[in-house]
């Protein structure tokens, strides 16, 4: 094992790349070789948009030097050589390249090891992402990696593992919130010799990129969790279905699998305990519907991603018609920590009915957008004011959309509802994937819903009629309203369409495509009626057509 004294991370977000991060990376590497430091210093990249407020573009590209936790930025490509010479060769911090501290978020405290700067941040899923070199298995092992797998294989029976997961109260993080331990029990109990573990990494819900951060920042965590799941349910093979757009995450997973096999954490006779498990990575080719578990399985088998009729469920008839466990990336990422620290520890996080943490992606009209991990049960107001650092200057919260396109639209009045599965269910809203799109007073509800419906009419797979035609008709109707051509009857039509699509659509896509319309009519009916009756868009967003103006 190679022991290095320092690790350099270079920011690799789009803005940094635009400003020459790739040249910077090359210059750093060249300088390290020139000073013959390549055996002592490793260089890697990190998506800093998850950790820092990168919208302040004047700190990019950034260079972070560990273990000193010194943060430089902006660093011009031409500064690379100087930085290596001063900091890594001579051991002097380059003061004039340091990132001005006032521009950084509270995460600098976390980087320096001063926990508690950001009181509510508790990291389980993102424990290591951004802290270790994702391409190094040694660093993963040093941060408790594969410890849970070792414990499971040497001290626990499969039944113990399932009991622990069930006791932890972990619920599926893909959106539906089904109890994970119970699902594992179903697959273990299903008849059949051959079973599969499938990791759903087809993260396509607009506004959601938490799984990307997990896979890019800590790929071994998912391999460890899938192997534990395989042991628990009696499977010897697993698939990671990753969306085709996530090229970097795909490479990191492939690399991690090779490393894990080399170290004996994957493949034959893991830990010398006689358990075999193998994992394949399978890239999708761009289809939102493949996030639905039966569509995902169809796509894995080389078909169009069209959801199957259920029942039978994948737990008994999944991949190649064998019992299959399908879990989301974030759900799996919780598993090693639960088995390492116990169910009691996990239950101490979050709320009694929804234990644990949740990873959210915040974006829209807030000062900080990115990924955060917070205990279940915090409120939207807290998210906006603590993590989002408040609304942008001049912006007032009008509504938030949770959980991507199929999530709920929450008016500002509901921002004090605790965000956990139970409270949300009671309030009639869905937590979904954890995307939080924060919109201010300049957002027109009709325009927003039109954009969401455009997404659904495009992504509907076309297999069942209610969804294929329903999404199209819904879009046309809302588009007419946005052009000033709407009638009051249109609202009646939408109302009945909601009921039909919810009742008869084959899968979750069609059933939830109507949620934004329902929330629009429930919370913002006056604004919609203004488009129809007054012939004006209160926010001035919608462009009324000539025809519309004449009709008035």
């Amino acid at each position: 094992m190679k022991i290095t004294r320092s690790m350099i991370l270079v920011s690799s977000d789009p803005e940094s790349l635009r400003l020459g991060a790739e040249d910077l990376l090359r210059n750093l590497k060249e300088a390290i070789e020139a000073y013959n430091l390549q055996d002592e210093v490793t260089v890697s990249t990190i998506d800093v948009s998850a950790i820092y407020d990168v919208n302040r573009a004047n700190i990019l590209p950034m260079v972070i030097v560990h273990p000193d936790a010194v943060v430089y930025g902006p660093v011009k490509p031409s500064d690379g050589r100087y930085l290596v010479e001063e900091h890594l060769y001579k051991g002097r911090i380059v003061n004039d390249l340091l990132t001005p501290p006032k521009l950084l978020t509270g995460q600098i405290g976390w980087l320096r090891g001063r926990k508690g700067y950001n009181p509510a941040e508790q990291r389980v899923v993102l424990e290591r992402a951004g802290r270790i070199d994702p391409e190094s298995i040694e660093e993963f092992i040093a941060a408790h990696g594969y410890e849970a797998l070792g414990k499971v294989l040497s001290e626990m029976t499969p039944e113990d593992v399932i009991a622990t997961v069930e006791k932890s109260g972990l619920q599926g993080r893909g959106g539906a919130g089904f109890p994970t331990g119970r699902k594992w029990g179903f697959v273990r109990g299903a008849k059949g010799d051959k079973k599969y573990v499938v990791c759903n990494a087809d993260e396509s819900e607009p506004g959601t990129f938490k799984d990307r951060i997990v896979l890019e920042g800590d790929p071994h965590q998912i391999l460890e969790a899938m192997t534990i799941a395989g042991y628990a349910i009696g499977a010897d093979e697993g698939y990671i279905y990753i969306r085709g757009e996530y090229g970097l995450a795909y490479q990191r997973l492939e690399n991690a699998i090779l490393q894990a096999k080399e170290f004996g954490f994957l493949g034959k006779n893991i830990f010398g305990k006689g358990f075999d498990f193998d994992i394949h990575v399978h890239a999708g080719a761009g289809a939102y519907v493949c996030g639905e578990e039966t569509a995902l399985i169809e796509s894995l088998e080389g078909k169009r991603g069209e959801p199957r009729s259920r029942p039978p469920y994948p737990v008994t008839h999944g991949l190649w018609n064998k019992p299959t466990l399908v879990n989301n990336v974030e759900t799996l990422a919780n598993i090693p920590a639960i088995l390492r620290n116990g169910a009691e520890w996990y239950r101490s996080l979050g709320t009694p009915s929804s234990p644990g943490t949740k990873v959210y992606t915040i974006m829209g009209n807030v000062n900080f957008s990115g990924v955060i991990e917070a205990p279940m049960g915090i409120t939207l107001r807290e998210v906006i004011n603590i993590y989002g650092r408040g609304m942008k200057p001049g912006s007032v919260l009008k509504l938030a959309q949770t959980g991507g396109s199929s999530g709920s639209i929450i008016p500002a009045a509901l921002q004090d509802t605790p965000m956990d599965f139970e409270s949300f269910r009671k309030a009639g809203v869905s937590l979904g994937s954890g995307a939080l799109l924060i919109c201010d007073q300049h957002t027109c509800i009709v325009d927003l819903v039109k954009v969401l419906l455009q997404f659904f009419r495009f992504e509907s797979c076309g297999k069942c009629t209610p969804c294929r035609i329903g999404t199209q008709r819904a879009y046309e109707t809302v588009e007419r309203i946005s052009q000033g051509l709407g009638k009051l009857e249109d609202l009646e039509f939408l109302q009945s369409l909601i009921q039909e699509m919810e009742r008869v659509s084959n899968c979750g896509l069609g059933q939830t495509a109507v949620v934004p319309i329902r929330d629009m009519l429930k919370h913002f009916r006056t604004e919609v009626e203004a488009h129809i009756l007054l012939g004006s868009c209160p926010t001035g967003v919608c462009e009324f057509s000539q025809e519309g103006e004449k009709a008035l």
């Binding site: 635009r18 607009p206 990129f209 990307r212 757009e245 080719a285 761009g286 169009r304 957008s369 995307a435």
Partner: protein, 165 residues
């Protein structure tokens, strides 16, 4: 574009993809993706070529051309039509929309004189919309080939387009 690709090039690309991913049905999408990456789209000749490779009565594997076309037309990252040398993908989803996506889209359409899905006559540019690509913290976002541009304003568009030959 289509006529510039020789049959032997297509045969070689399909051969390589089949060797890499195998002949099982679960390899179909990865094979089509490789072909799409090589030529920017899935040519009809490639579909015929893949069918030939996967015809193996001994192992009961057989795939129809229609089945391959069904896949190529279903998945968004695969194209059945030739595309320009550079493909611009514009994220049209809500997170990019509420932070000024529409102005970017209008600028792109006007500068290139293209509508969604169209290609310039010189086959330099293809303009398409895409669903969320998971870069929402830096919206509005466009992708040109594999290059990502985030935090965009309409004023930046001409400069960015200039960079491509």
């Amino acid at each position: 574009m289509s006529s510039l690709i020789s049959e032997s090039e297509i045969a070689a690309a399909v051969q390589a993809a089949v060797e890499k991913h195998g002949k099982n049905h679960d390899a179909l999408i990865p094979i089509l993706s490789e072909v799409n990456r090589a030529f920017g789209y899935v040519p009809g000749e490639a579909i015929r070529e893949i069918r030939k490779h996967l015809y193996d009565p001994a192992n009961r594997t057989y795939v129809a051309e229609g089945q391959l076309y069904a896949l190529a037309s279903f998945y968004d990252m695969l194209s059945t039509k030739p595309r320009g040398r550079h493909v611009i993908k514009f994220c049209e989803n809500a997170p990019c929309h509420v932070v000024g996506g529409k102005a970017i889209w209008d600028t792109l359409r006007q500068r290139l004189n293209l509508e969604n899905g169209e290609t310039t006559p010189d086959f330099k540019w293809t303009l398409v919309t895409t669903s969320c690509i998971g870069l929402c913290s830096v919206g509005p976002v466009i992708l040109i080939d594999d290059d990502i541009y985030g935090n965009l304003t309409p004023e930046q568009i001409p400069d960015i387009l200039e960079r491509y030959e």
